[in-house]
């Protein structure tokens, strides 16, 4: 994958370490919190306000039309100069909010679980459906999505129904990538420490490529370090967000053996 613009994400240094757990980060961990939750927790009844779309309505909306959703922050992928990219989710589906103008002060309020109302345009970029040019309101309410195990959906058309959701993959085997490595910096090994990590995992004879997105989970996060400790043949469980780029491209936030 080219990912020329992915590298740009490192600019947002205050970005989304929160999702991944970090020995050096005091930030809360949405993904970690979710992974440890035995069930979803809600601080409100989940009923949509007037004029707000249900997830089904959002999913059915045409591209380039205005959408209004109420959703809950799950992880923050980056912030710089009043703009943020955020994984959000309600009980029915995921909403990826891309490049939303927001102040540092409000960005800090968007802790995992925080309810927000987002108005923007439904867009698609290489298969990734997202809300762009968005505005927001912070509302009362809290919800942490549990990780949905989608291992059995890998390679199937139904997987896209869970795009942008917090998901898990279980019992997958690390396969070689590049010159028999367990992982690469960037998709072709052209990167260095701090760049995205790419690794291959297989299940039932099929191999898939997963990513540790360096802006969601940087070099000092547990998952980044864990992937660097992987060896070909390891059997692992993973959690992350079901990002899409010309097909499923999970952004992994946690790896356990």
């Amino acid at each position: 994958m080219k990912k020329l613009f992915k590298s740009v994400l490192t600019l947002s240094l205050v970005a989304g370490l929160a999702a991944c757990g970090s020995s050096s980060s005091a930030a809360g961990s949405a993904a970690s919190a979710a992974s440890e939750a035995t069930e979803a927790t809600t601080g409100d009844d989940g009923v949509k306000s007037e004029g707000v779309m249900t997830y089904a309505e959002y999913a059915a909306a045409d591209l380039d039309t205005q959408v209004v959703v109420e959703t809950y922050v799950q992880a923050k992928q980056g912030w710089w100069e009043n703009s943020a990219t955020i994984y959000t989710q309600d009980k029915d589906g995921g909403y990826f909010i891309y490049g939303m103008p927001i102040s540092q002060e409000d960005y800090d309020k968007l802790v995992p679980g925080q309810k927000i109302k987002v108005t923007g345009y439904k867009s698609e970029w290489s298969g990734e459906v997202e809300i762009t040019d968005a505005t927001y309101e912070i509302e009362d309410g809290n919800y942490i999505a549990p990780a949905l195990d989608v291992t059995d959906l890998l390679g199937k058309d139904e997987l896209i129904n869970h795009q942008n959701q917090f998901v898990s993959f279980t019992g997958m085997t690390v396969e070689p990538i590049g010159d028999d490595a367990a992982y690469l910096y960037n998709w072709d090994g052209s990167g260095t420490e701090g760049d995205d990590l790419y690794f291959n995992v297989s299940k039932d004879g099929n191999t898939y490529q997963f990513t540790v997105e360096s802006y969601l989970c940087g070099a000092d996060t547990d998952v980044y370090k864990a992937v660097k400790e992987l060896a070909v043949g390891d059997v692992i469980n993973m959690e992350g967000f079901l990002y899409w780029y010309e097909g499923a491209n999970p952004h992994i936030t946690k790896v356990t053996k």
């Binding site: 613009f5 740009v8 600019l11 710089w80 090994g189």
Partner: protein, 531 residues
């Protein structure tokens, strides 16, 4: 996976505003040492940019290894980047702490910002000309290129404010990668040089549907034109129209009537879905290779991603479709006077208090112009070596002659892209470089992005819209707060009433001159009276 283009844009805007703070961080002016002290050890930090291409990083590593074998007392530490913007950001940050690299890959536009600090970047004029260590110098321990062996057009792109501040490293331009099969299926022939009108006409023809599918490709998706770099699109269109963009004084001329006409034209075809951009849809190559795009406009340095047999790809093998690819220059308004942008990485050397360290850095920078590095790197993409020495070498000529003999090193689309530039070097241009030119470039692309998004969202694009767009984009990129030598104008600026201090000074000057005149007359009268 492009993600966070907005973040980059914001960052670039913010760092450009910070640059005024660096003046106090200057070092002493660099002077070329008499001799290079090889008894000492030197650490040279090199910030390199690659196109997320492992072969390119391998070439850098080999170049370092080979250079260190020639100069064992110089140790080059490379840091890899895949984005110019990030290098720019890091350099700006490190200027303030005096921890810039020694050598880095960069754009001249970015250097103009670095130069707002005193003696941050080494002017290379004296180094070029130095008899011992300059270009083709007698004491350079490798086959150094002479200044006359660097393509003049490319070298001149690195000169501004009366000095050379960089050496070119690689050059590319933009190309249209065309699905020739579909163009012919629509009843057209691909000309040697496309006009914008031709491209838009074919694109509109490709929008015909039967049921849910487009007729031309039988698929549900067809975006006939996808432009990767909309800033280049606007810049080249304006140049071809001989319309304003900016001038050497940093005057910003972008927001003019020709720009408005172009935006209307783009809006017309964005509204039908015939035109889109990388930022809105994705990489042109992904759509081209899947038979979902007919005119993919991207850098010649992106050629290895284009076509049915592209050696690099982001899409799965089952999405590729079979078609013939044609490579052409960017569309023109006047095919008899083609104009296309010259782009690509350059190399600058940062100043340090230790002149010997700077000299070691210069020697390494110069090594990147040797044939081994130039030819190897140029072959990784549709780049062109910047030295005539490399361009004319048997090795490079043989490489070109083997076009199409395989789909990797000699991938025909890649070599055609290189040849496109080689055949059009005289038709290339660059935009004026000044502190703020990076923001202006971003703004020019933003105009196209906004218009395209707006019409897709059924917003009305009219004169009022354009006027508001000009204002908001100028504000977003701080072009309405231009500092230094940059100013926004299509006309001479109204500077307003004179400050009172200035008025007082002028009045005083007038009174003094009157008194001088009166005294002179008094002396004359006195002289006449006495005689």
């Amino acid at each position: 996976m492009r993600k966070h283009i907005i973040l980059l844009a914001s960052l670039l805007m913010s760092v450009s505003l910070l640059t005024g703070c660096h003046g106090s961080q200057g070092s002493q002016e660099f002077t070329v040492p008499e001799n290079f002290d090889t008894s000492r050890e030197y650490e040279v930090t090199f910030w390199a940019k690659n196109d997320t291409n492992k072969t390119q990083t391998d070439i850098y590593e080999k170049a370092i290894k080979d250079f260190e074998a020639i100069y064992p007392n110089v140790h080059v530490n490379m840091r890899l980047y895949t984005d110019y913007g990030r290098i720019y950001n890091d350099v700006i940050t490190n200027i303030a702490t005096k921890t810039t690299p020694n050598v880095c890959i960069t754009y001249p536009d970015h250097i103009a910002t670095y130069l707002t600090g005193d003696n941050v970047v080494v002017p290379l004029d004296d180094l070029f000309a130095d008899a011992k260590y300059g270009l083709g110098g007698t004491d350079v321990a490798f086959d150094s290129v002479g200044q006359n062996e660097i393509a003049e057009e490319f070298l001149e792109e690195c000169a501004f404010d009366g000095h050379y501040y960089a050496i070119p490293y690689m050059r590319s331009t933009e190309a249209v990668y065309i699905n020739k099969t579909y163009v012919e299926k629509l009843g057209y022939e691909v000309p040697d040089i496309l006009t914008w009108d031709f491209m838009f006409e074919v694109a509109e023809a490709a929008m015909k549907k039967e049921g849910e599918n487009f007729v031309v490709n039988g698929q549900k998706v067809m975006i006939p034109i996808i432009y990767k770099s909309t800033d280049n699109m606007m810049i080249q269109m304006l140049k071809q129209k001989d319309a304003g963009y900016s001038n050497e004084d940093g005057e910003i001329l972008l927001f003019n009537d020709t720009t408005k006409e172009l935006l209307y034209m783009i809006a017309e075809h964005a509204k039908t879905g015939a035109f889109s951009t990388f930022k809105i849809s994705s990489y042109p190559a992904n759509f081209l290779d899947a038979g979902q795009c007919i005119f993919a406009i991207d850098s010649t340095a992106g050629a290895t991603w284009m076509g049915t047999y592209a050696p690099l790809s982001d899409i799965s093998a089952d999405k590729f479709v079979e078609f013939e690819t044609a490579v052409r220059p960017v569309p023109q308004f006047d095919v008899n006077n083609p104009k296309m942008i010259s782009q690509g990485p350059s190399i600058c050397v940062f100043n340090k208090s230790d002149t010997q360290e700077v000299l070691a850095s210069w020697l390494f920078a110069q090594y990147l112009l040797t044939n081994d590095v130039q030819i190897a790197y140029a072959e990784t993409e549709g780049y062109v070596p910047v030295t005539t020495k490399a361009q004319e070498s048997d090795t490079y000529q043989e490489y070109l002659s083997l076009s199409g003999t395989d789909n990797n090193q000699h991938y025909d689309i890649k070599i055609q892209a290189s040849e496109l530039l080689l055949n059009n070097i005289q038709n290339t241009f660059v935009t004026p470089v000044f502190n703020g030119s990076t923001s202006l470039r971003d703004a020019s692309g933003q105009l196209i992005e906004n218009v395209t998004k707006s019409v897709r969202r059924n917003e009305k694009v009219d004169d009022a819209y354009i006027e508001n767009l000009y204002s908001s984009v100028a504000s977003l990129y701080h072009l309405d707060q231009a500092t230094g030598n940059a100013s926004v104008s299509g006309e001479k600026a109204d500077l307003g009433p004179l400050p009172s201090a200035s008025k007082a000074l002028l009045i005083t000057l007038v009174i003094v001159w009157i008194l001088i005149g009166a005294y002179y007359l008094y002396l004359n009268q006195k002289k006449k009276a006495s005689s």
